[in-house]
Symmetry: C2
Subunit: 764 residues, 2 copies
């Protein structure tokens, strides 16, 4: 944890001072994205110090061959990885004959980075002295256009401070990139074509195996003496997968010069001819010009903030934290394209392969449901519906299930399982539960039942079939059990009767059963169509109910708690507070076996169940379970503190709720888990949003109505957020005296505050 690294600011992420040690962390934190592509905050100019180069295109991945020590049956044949895309930001610079490189400058001062979240741009400035004695001031702004989502823009300015300078700008595009991932050194891009025309250039490459074709492009404009220079490259270097232009500029001491570079990608997912598409998009961008592109960016972000901003008064760090989270979520996924989903690191790193996890259903959907048009959440559900066949295939071919049982992949790009550790791939089957829960949650929130007869019910049936087959009967206990799983707490592997898994399994069967009945009554033609397809008999339904009705849940009656799994109480139960601080994070300090046998919990597990099914449990039961499990939870998953924050708020443990809120909202900014250099934790950022809206705001949807039970941390003066509830925009503002509700539009709305109905009239 490093609390002094990012300067507190309501709207910007700011770093001051040049520290080689934090370059990789800053590259993560200052990442920019526009839903279609994104990139780490790598320097444009050459940098010989430690750096993690990363630029990513949504939907572009590579199926790497599964490589393991000993093969185990059921492993998928490949694992998908997000690819470091060709570099379009590169601008090498030569100043008075010396390659400009911050790592070799004799002095760097006034170094400052700013990620302006309100307006959606990244800025870097500093003064540096080169080894040849030339002192320069440098100022760079970069953004990825929300409007033209294939386009990024860089404005790079240099002012020599102590002498005249000959500056050679060398902008390039380069498909000869590799992944950071240390295990494999292969290249993933096959160069196809390099083309130039005036100040424009195009490198076309395709990914091996998947054959995604990408044209990476650039267009360069040189500025000097206050005006645009009509310069062509003095020279060009071309190799198979890279092209570099030379622009020579003589600049007087104190005079500014610069380069504006337009770049980006056109991809075969969207265009038949990616080169023509690139030529066209450059023309569109040039026609707007830099100033207009920037203004469009500011306007587009203003629209996003208008709906999704959360304000917090009197606590800059908390305000900065929540805005960083909302900003990153919007940089990662905008809900336009149902082929896409939300990778745990978004566009900020390679880890977790840029693939889709249960994070989407368990954490992200509530944020997108409440801050976007409901079609966005429906797109996310449809993503899974479209992959149902592959989930059935996965269960059948990899794991030996039958009769249309579906197991959704733990990690996927295209619906196929693409991760290869048995304890995760084969055993972390609870993901199936979250996918079913999201269908329920979508209907609960939006009231749009149509999704279930149209698509959702088939998914629910495939999942129920899986759970029915996956449970086994224990003659010993005369109940059904689910053996050999990994629960949400990944610091346990291959355990028996994970409470969360058993509970959601039973729920899935029950819910699927209920929806079959409901669709049968209310949507008979859909029911007929589906039953003809899935061939579900009454006998099979009875078998489902036998399992769901007699599921075993591990419990200590003495302590009045559910057990995370069989045998949990046999551990050496030293609480986190009694664990030497030097031993944490345990996943970095301990070998895996030690982690596994310890009582420490990576993320909410029993409590995740209480979160999903809050209404199923009494509050005192929640409290007993919360007090027990919280004391063993190390929150080394980014997905953990938000759930604890929400429950702490519900239990009136506001100091704790606030601490968890800070931890979740500033997880990356303060680098709690000492790993931000690998990228930011995008999916958990939706959990931060939930901490405020569901935690402090106490928002729930019950019986088609919004409920709030607002609380406020003592550190805050007030806070506010907006909710799009069934196409009505409600704003909630809470301070220490009152809760104010206001409604956009023309229709009134009844909501419940602390259980009492409140009729909210629209503003206008």
């Amino acid at each position: 944890m490093n609390q002094d690294y990012i300067k507190p600011d309501n709207w910007s992420i700011i770093e001051e001072g040049f520290d080689r040690e934090s370059v990789k962390s800053s590259e993560s934190l200052f990442s920019i994205g526009n839903g279609a592509m994104g990139q780490r905050a790598n320097f444009e100019e050459n940098y010989s110090g430690e750096t993690f180069q990363g630029s990513y295109i949504a939907g572009i991945y590579y199926p790497d061959k599964t490589k393991v020590g000993w093969w185990k049956n059921g492993y998928p044949k490949y694992f998908a990885k997000v690819l470091n895309a060709p570099n379009w930001i590169g601008i090498n610079i030569e100043i008075n004959g010396e390659d400009f490189d911050l790592n070799s400058c004799t002095e760097v001062k006034n170094f400052r980075r700013e990620l302006n979240m309100k307006e959606g741009w990244y800025h870097r400035s500093f003064q540096a002295t080169l080894k040849n004695g030339t002192e320069v001031a440098v100022d760079i702004r970069r953004f990825l256009s929300l409007d033209l989502d294939e386009v990024g823009v860089i404005n790079y300015e240099i002012t020599p401070l102590n002498k005249d300078a000959k500056i050679i700008y060398k902008p390039y595009i380069d498909a000869g990139v590799t992944n950071e991932d240390a295990n494999w050194e292969e290249k993933f891009w096959e160069p196809l074509d390099v083309k130039k025309s005036g100040n424009e250039a195009f490198v076309t490459a395709q990914t091996f195996k998947t054959h995604f074709k990408v044209t990476t492009f650039m267009q360069n404009t040189i500025w000097a003496r206050g005006e645009k220079q009509n310069l062509s490259p003095t020279s060009v270097d071309t190799i198979a997968d890279k092209i570099l232009f030379y622009y020579d500029v003589i600049v007087a001491k104190g005079e500014k010069s610069g380069i504006q570079k337009i770049g980006g990608y056109t991809v075969s997912l969207n265009h038949a001819d990616t080169i023509s598409a690139a030529e066209n998009i450059i023309q569109t961008a040039l026609a707007k010009g830099y100033d207009q592109l920037l203004q469009d960016q500011i306007d587009a972000w203003a629209k996003i903030w208008e709906m999704s901003d959360i304000t917090i008064d009197g606590d800059v760090k908390a305000q900065q934290g929540i805005r960083f989270n909302i900003f990153q979520l919007n940089q990662t996924y905008l809900g336009k394209d149902s082929r896409l989903n939300i990778g745990p690191k978004g566009f900020t790193g390679e880890k977790y392969g840029g693939s889709t996890y249960w994070d989407t259903e368990a954490y992200c959907i509530p944020f997108y449901m409440a801050t976007k048009d409901q079609q966005v959440a429906r797109n996310l559900l449809t993503y899974r519906y479209n992959q149902l066949d592959k989930a059935i295939e996965n269960a059948k071919d990899n794991l030996g299930f039958t009769n249309g049982a579906a197991l959704y992949p733990m990690v996927t790009m295209n619906g196929e399982e693409c991760h290869n550790e048995w304890e995760i791939t084969h055993e972390e089957i609870h993901r199936n539960g979250a996918i079913a829960f999201a269908i329920y949650n979508y209907y609960r929130f939006t009231g749009d039942y149509s999704y279930i007869p149209e698509k959702g019910l088939e998914v629910l049936i495939g999942i129920a079939r899986f759970w029915h087959q996956r449970a086994s009967f224990s003659a010993n206990k005369n109940q059904y059990m689910i053996l050999g799983v990994t629960g949400p707490n990944e610091y346990e592997n291959n355990i028996n009767n994970n409470f969360y898994t058993n509970y959601i399994a039973k729920w899935c069967i029950d819910y699927a059963y209920e929806q079959i009945q409901k669709v049968s009554l209310e949507y008979p033609s859909d029911h007929k169509r589906i039953m003809e397809k899935v061939k579900l008999s009454e006998t099979e339904l009875q078998e489902w109910n036998k399992v769901a009705g007699n599921m075993y849940f591990p419990r200590s009656e003495e302590m009045g708690i559910y057990l995370q799994q069989d045998g949990f109480l046999d551990k050496d139960l030293v609480r986190v507070k009694d664990l030497d601080r030097s031993q944490r994070p345990i996943n970095q300090k301990w070998s895996w076996d030690r982690v596994l046998r310890s009582p420490y919990i990576k993320q909410a597990d029993v409590l995740q169940c209480f979160y999903f099914f809050e209404d199923h449990f009494a509050k005192d039961e929640l409290e007993r379970n919360f007090d027990f499990y919280e004391s063993f939870t190390v929150h080394e998953s980014s997905l953990s503190p938000c759930v604890h924050s929400i429950q702490a708020a519900l239990l009136d443990k506001m100091d704790m709720a606030y601490a968890f809120y800070l931890r979740t909202s500033r997880l990356d900014l303060d680098d709690y888990n000492k790993e931000v250099e690998e990228g930011c934790h995008i999916t958990s950022m939706a959990g931060t949003w939930m901490s405020i809206v569901e935690g402090f705001g106490g928002m729930r949807v019950k019986n088609d109505a919004l409920h709030f039970s607002p609380k406020i941390p003592k550190e805050w003066g007030g806070y506010s957020f907006k909710i799009n509830f069934r196409n009505q925009i409600l704003k909630i503002a809470v301070d220490h005296k009152e809760t104010k509700l206001s409604l956009e539009g023309t229709k009134e709305l009844t909501v419940y505050v602390n259980g009492a109905p409140v009729l909210v009239q629209p503003n206008n």
Copy 2:
């Protein structure tokens, strides 16, 4: 399983008929070795069909980079793999202008392989018709000399049957080889030098990273018209890592011609100048000549059989099985070199990396103790003593133990852990128990206590310290537990309180404690030296005793059995006999998670404990546990049936004992587990020996005396074996009427037969 594949024969392994489908399996079964090197029965001539090329040199390995999906703390940095060594057997052959290749011949008849175990050679003969119509008879004998263990010899003869033939013999040596292992395609040998002189050639190469230097050599002599031809190569092809000679011979129809090839390896483990060493060994071999080399081989094997043969009357398959096992063990390890150990596949395949496992201590040492000079077993113990520092380092650096706790590697070449699956490397810690048990077993059998004060005690202390630290206290049960392990039954991972592990852990601590007391009294200067080194306090010893004295053992009082682990009875307990045969072997038919949650046991686990500590349990307790666990054991580990066989014999279940015996002794010959093409199960072959000696013979050592309780399967007429007990050679012959004991040498010996003392007088 394929019972008709190998012809029954008392002394030879025989295959008749050419079946492309079984080439890889036969390559395993007909492997030859001499302790220093070994090789699969690959054809000398080119073969374009499916084949698994393998030639191996003892002690030569490669530390491959650990490659995993997600890195877990504690993984070793590399995993060692046995390397396919350069090819010295290759002889390409051209007959009347056509490359001779059994896969493309139009007819192959009278194909026959024989591995003559009595005399230690491998023979292959057949008649084949080439596509060009030439019909030839071919006869090849090959052996690896026991006397000159760097030398192998091939005699390759061809007789054209239907026309004259121009035959070009093209013997070669080739370091451009790769491993069969499909995951990595890299080469592991760096060529250094290619040299030729007359009919000799030398290819020197070194392994990458480990830099083992190996000179592969050949010397060729051409025979035709009944005599040696004074031929030099007509031509030579040389590339960086390969050299190939051409010898042209014109042979009349019906006339035999041939090539004698001497080849092999000289290695930097044994020679500073490997090329000179190769030149010398060729001279030594040539001086003896082919006939003498063969006679020496026959004599050397006669000496081995003299001591280690087991005879079985009236059951050829059983006789062939046990001899195959004894033969392979002797081909693999002869106990000359304490740097070497026994890989699970010996020289017959790559799997298990040719590394050392607990197999050595748990299964192999009893065989070598009883059939060799006791120095051989002591060498095997010393191998671990020499690696104690690395076991301490492994426990400390990889797994966070302290204070000299030692965890021996699960898989090793040089004392370092070199396997990287957490469930095995980090959790299969019971190996430490077998290593301590072997020290006890060695003393029990040989009476040589000196090993303990000299070396063994330090090993015992390091191991006891490990178990003491590895146990954790369960306040819930008020006992010590060992959580998160994989027991001998590898079809369970990360389980709590594996009975075998908990039991042997307690035993290790108790035994180390007792030996410290004994050494203190009887070897005070050793005690002083060791205590100064290990700094063991009275307080620490008390802590040991606290753990060992209050260890938890999972048990069902109701059923009167120990539980393999916590929760075992919660499984869906369908017995193996009730499992559809089509589902087996389950490790090939089921995904890993299904295997793990099933009740099926890969190999003896609770029963392994009863085997090691037979005296600790009453016979009726053994019987209850045997009956229960046997019904769930699928014996998919080669190490399993031998233990069940021994216990079935003890429990007078002789039909079962005999079935298990056949399964263990003919595991590879009948290919029970459908995997012999990967190599033979060498270490389990020692278990086969135990099945007869300890199972049917009932041999035990108690109170410094040999005990027997002989039984005989009804299928046999009689059987006999020899035991080297404390430098006296006792022969035991059992038939349905009586047990005959005879003793070599001059001293008498008291043994116990069915509990009664028998004074055996020496023969002479």
